[in-house]
């Protein structure tokens, strides 16, 4: 049995994306001590990797980094990155015991200056997951330029233990003797902000993702147009050509029973229209076509954003894509049903963006005893009182924030996180002695 360090906090927040971060700040600002546990190397979740946000077109990095910085610096918040909550037992009211596994980073964060000399020295190149495979990275690497903490990580799975990084490091912060640390946490309440998974378009072979190089996902396009973009311009990955006829395939992996996801992902219409507008700014000569079933611009300022996209000349085609095939020159033929004319048509594009949807991250279900945490049929965390108290789960004292309970956009995640932290504060108050 590993040695476990025993730690105590008022609240455990699992997941440091925008929802978990907001929930942690609300609790911390009310005076509660929070442990924020994140499995990845950085705070900020998926939002910090986005280009701009709809419908304000604020740069995502500009509004996420200060939030993330506030979380990292807050006196009442302790952050564990590279960490997973492996088990939670409810011992009684206001009494949860969580087992946490903190994996080694092999870099002492406090000493690392993010000088990137280890990156230069490292001879191993692998796929960069933060650029969604558009480019490579080293096995010794800084996750991304606005990561928090901004410090190197050794990807031990791919590391050859050559020691080049260690020699190159001017502050001697690389430490291969680091080991996994185990903690036993006593907390009074738990917030689940475990987020969502992106739909993997390999599940729809007829779209040719993974087979045709110029078919990419919307998250890859998000990276191509982000300020910290990999190519510093927009290219199609097949041959580096600047695309000028880009197609968006909405509802990739959403509203589709054939891949087991009958629901709407709530965000894809809007982010696709956002990307279309940004692309029109970056590539003024490009034609952008969005193939859709219904445009769901339902939030504040969204319908106006849709009208703006139409006004800018984005081409909206109501029709489902049947099949995508590749031409010799890397261009793609989209076969679709044109609803307006009631006929099946084909169109040629030089790049296709699959607007992938939101799938559940069922991991939270596994960490509680038995089946005490109920999930819904789609494996999202079930909301026990959906209308009256949307943040309540099947366990009293455990609350859900953000996309862990279903698809939602950033403002809805913030509201959901506000709701979860409010319930958590009420729960903490209920058992607080006066």
């Amino acid at each position: 049995m590993e040695e476990r360090q025993i730690i105590e906090y008022d609240a455990l927040v699992i997941g440091a994306g925008i929802a978990g971060g907001e929930a942690a700040i609300n609790l911390a600002n009310t005076g509660y001590k929070v442990l924020l546990v994140e499995k990845d190397h950085s705070l900020g979740g998926k939002m910090i990797l986005l280009s701009k946000v709809f419908p304000t077109l604020d740069c995502a990095a500009c509004i996420t980094t200060p939030k993330v910085s506030e979380i990292a610096r807050h006196n009442n918040i302790t952050v564990f990155t590279e960490s997973e909550v492996t088990h939670i037992a409810k011992k009684g009211d206001n009494d949860f015991v969580a087992q946490i596994m903190k994996k080694p980073r092999y870099v002492r964060v406090e000493d690392c200056t993010a000088c990137q000399l280890c990156e230069k020295a490292c001879p191993v190149s692998v796929r960069d997951e933060y650029q969604f495979g558009l480019i490579g990275r080293k096995a010794a690497f800084i996750p991304f330029s606005i990561a928090n903490p901004k410090a190197a990580v050794i990807d031990i799975e791919n590391c050859t233990l050559c020691g080049a990084c260690e020699k190159a490091c001017p502050t001697h912060c690389i430490d291969f003797t680091m080991e996994t640390e185990y903690y036993e946490l006593h907390a009074k309440t738990v917030i689940l902000a475990t987020g969502f998974n992106l739909f993997d378009p390999l599940e729809i072979p007829r779209f040719g993702y993974g087979q045709y190089k110029n078919v990419i996902t919307s998250m890859q396009m998000e990276r191509e147009i982000a300020p910290t973009r990999p190519y510093n311009t927009i290219l199609r990955p097949g041959d580096g050509k600047v695309p000028d006829r880009i197609a968006y395939v909405l509802c990739t992996g959403s509203r589709d029973n054939t891949i087991g996801n009958p629901i709407c992902s709530q965000i894809c219409c809007m982010y696709s229209m956002k990307q279309a507008q940004l692309l029109m700014g970056a590539l003024p000569m490009a034609d952008i076509t969005i193939y859709y079933i219904n445009i769901r611009s339902f939030g504040k300022g969204f319908e106006e954003f849709y009208q703006q996209a139409k006004g800018m000349g984005v081409n909206f085609v109501k029709g489902k894509i049947g099949k995508i095939t590749e031409k010799e020159n890397g261009n793609l033929i989209l076969r679709y049903e044109d609803i307006a004319e009631g006929v099946v048509k084909e169109a040629e594009h030089d790049m296709v963006v699959l607007s992938v949807g939101v799938k559940s991250n069922p991991s939270a279900g596994k960490i509680f005893d038995g089946n005490s945490l109920k999930l819904d049929p789609l494996q999202f965390v079930a909301q026990q009182d959906f209308l009256g108290s949307p943040a309540k789960t099947s366990i009293d004292g455990v609350f859900v924030a953000g996309t862990a309970s279903g698809p939602m956009d950033i403002p809805d995640s913030i509201l959901s996180a506000g709701s979860a932290s409010s319930e958590a504060i009420s729960y903490l108050t209920r058992y607080q002695s006066l």
């Binding site: 500009c62 300020p227 009256g388």
Partner: protein, 574 residues
């Protein structure tokens, strides 16, 4: 006079550097008087740069810091805090906005944008040289919170505050709690009745003795600011000769949850008001909820075929409601399913502008399709028409889903799927000076990350007064607003900005020009040494500067923006 200034010029990841030559800006200002160094940075707000700044302050023994980046609305506080971590007085920090005021405003003129950025940074440097350390005002805050509006959002906000042991006053203008939700019949996703939901929340609420529920009472005046608001409440006379009762309340924060109005179609809009088989969504919901017979009847006639016309009062291409009302697709589909299950012989025909059952609500749409509901679609250019032929109601529509085919159908009832509009009664918003968006709903500070806070400190907005929402979303918004209001004042003491107006009372001879100019009622007249002079309430003053230029004897200075600082900035800009 500051002699050791550090200047940071931000690329903003291309937002600035795509149009402003930041390197040129840096070179142009690095030899300005007092500047020790000038640097460019990819993201000034990033954690790494913040750490570097603190280090620079210590290493170079700086006495002032300037960041040229985005709007101070975004990051003034961020960099003030950095300055403070570097052991400098945070109010000596000076911000230059070269994004909204240079790169974004002049994206068609890179040279001009760069030139303007240079001037803005020079002016900031000039101001920084004169910036004095300032100290915030501390004061006691009232810990009671007022919630205005007793619908689902207001009730939940009040309940969540009561649970946190906060004193709450819930003020409802009408004679009962529950708002629209209580009248809404069966609800989506759970099939709970609206009044059952509101009743169980009201019962919970009434268990707490730290909650005061006022119904039939209306806020008629507000004064003060965060920590110390004064609300004047008028009791609605119950009978004609009841005396008017006025009550004053003292609260620290206000949650505004005043809700929405149902869109009321214009006379003749899709036959509304002229054809008696045309009703609105709320009327239809009531009808389905209240009918107990085996078949649905309306005005003594059995109803079989129902046409639902979507987006009435929403997504208008001609008209002021350009927005989508968000809840109505799901609401009407849910009710149509209910009607079909409850009554014999119902055929539902939906005339939509594209179904928006987002998220899990899609399952309701799938269910309705499986039950055989018919969906037709039209666009904003070819709206459906309602006629009466031989006392029968006929609907015609050009259906997009069948390649523009003209459809005509005889129906027994037409339901206009009406959306949400902002409250006609905007008095609360006007009293509190809450800004409104283009859609005329109240505006939040930041649409993405701060959806319940407003520019008026201490006032939060919950539920549909901020924009259309369904019940679940309203509750999330209400709890978020309650938490923010709670965290503002739960400590009992508050700090306000030291940047406020200061009156030279020796020079003042009270002419009331300043108090008339003040939008916050922060200036009062006092007696001092036998003279009447103006005095500024430091808690209420927001430092807006409206009073400064109107003083005929130049007796008012805005702390942090003294004439000296402003003149030096003007010199640098010239």
């Amino acid at each position: 006079m500051k002699e050791r200034l550090g200047v940071y010029i931000c690329h903003c990841g291309g937002n600035i550097s795509d149009y402003v030559d930041v390197e040129k800006v840096r070179a142009a200002i690095e030899h300005e008087e007092g500047v020790v160094f000038a640097k460019t940075t990819m993201f000034a707000c990033s954690d790494t740069n913040q750490t570097d700044m603190v280090q620079d302050i210590h290493e170079h023994n700086l006495d002032g810091v300037i960041v040229a980046s985005c709007s101070p609305k975004l990051h003034l506080t961020t960099f003030r805090n950095v300055t403070e971590r570097g052991d400098l007085n945070k109010y000596t920090y000076v911000h230059a906005n070269i994004r909204e005021q240079a790169s974004w405003a002049h994206s068609d003129d890179k040279l001009g944008a760069t030139e303007k950025a240079i001037h803005l940074v020079k002016a900031a440097i000039a101001k920084s040289r004169y910036a004095d350390p300032l100290f915030p005002n501390q004061f006691e805050a009232e810990k009671t919170i007022a919630v205005i509006g007793g619908g689902i959002a207001g009730m939940k906000a009040a309940l969540s505050l009561a649970e946190k042991k906060s004193n709450v006053i819930l003020i409802e203008k009408g004679n009962r709690l529950g708002g629209h939700t209580a009248e809404w019949g069966s609800l989506f996703m759970t099939d709970e009745k609206g009044f059952e939901l509101t009743t169980r929340i009201e019962n919970d609420l009434r268990k707490y003795n730290n909650v005061t529920i006022l119904t039939g009472e209306e806020v008629i005046d507000t004064k003060g600011s965060i920590g110390n608001f004064e609300l004047k409440i008028r009791r609605q006379p119950q009978k004609e000769d009841d005396p008017m009762e006025i009550m004053e309340l003292h609260v620290g924060s206000i949650v505004v949850a005043t809700g929405y109005d149902h869109y009321l179609p214009k006379q003749g809009e899709y036959g509304f008001g002229t054809n008696e088989t045309v009703i609105t969504l709320p009327e239809f919901k009531q009808l389905v909820d209240k009918s107990t017979s085996k078949s649905l009847e309306f005005k003594g006639k059995k109803i079989n075929n129902i046409a639902y016309v979507y987006c009435v009062g929403s997504r208008q291409s001609e008209g002021e409601n350009t927005y989508c009302s968000r809840f109505c697709c799901t609401s009407v589909i849910h009710t149509a399913i209910e009607a079909k299950k409850k009554f014999k012989g119902i055929q539902n025909i939906h005339l939509t502008r594209g179904i928006r059952t987002y998220g899990k609500q899609e399952l309701l749409y799938a269910e309705s399709l499986q039950m055989g509901d018919v969906y037709l679609e039209f666009d904003e250019h070819t709206l459906p028409e309602i006629h009466t032929e031989d006392k029968k109601t006929v609907v015609t529509v050009k259906d997009i889903l069948s390649a523009g085919k003209e459809m005509e159908m005889e129906v027994d009832l037409v339901v206009l799927v009406t959306g949400m509009v902002p409250r006609a009664d905007q008095s609360i918003g006007s009293m509190l000076k809450l800004p409104k968006g283009r859609d005329r709903f109240f505006n939040e500070i930041h649409m993405k990350l701060r959806p319940v806070e407003t520019v008026i400190d201490g006032v939060t907005i919950a539920g549909t007064c901020q924009g259309p929402k369904n019940i679940s979303e309203s509750v999330n918004s209400a709890l978020s607003a309650a938490t923010k209001s709670f965290s503002y004042i739960s400590k009992g003491t508050l700090e306000t900005e030291p940047i406020i107006a200061k009156i030279d009372q020796d020079a003042c001879s009270w002419c009331d020009k300043c108090s008339n100019a003040c939008p916050f009622d922060a200036i009062e007249q006092i007696e001092m040494g036998g003279r009447t002079v103006a005095s500024v309430n430091p808690i209420v003053c927001k430092g807006c500067g409206m009073c400064t230029p109107v003083c005929p004897v130049d007796a008012i200075n805005l702390i942090g923006y003294t004439s000296e600082e402003i003149m030096s900035m003007i010199d640098a800009l010239a």
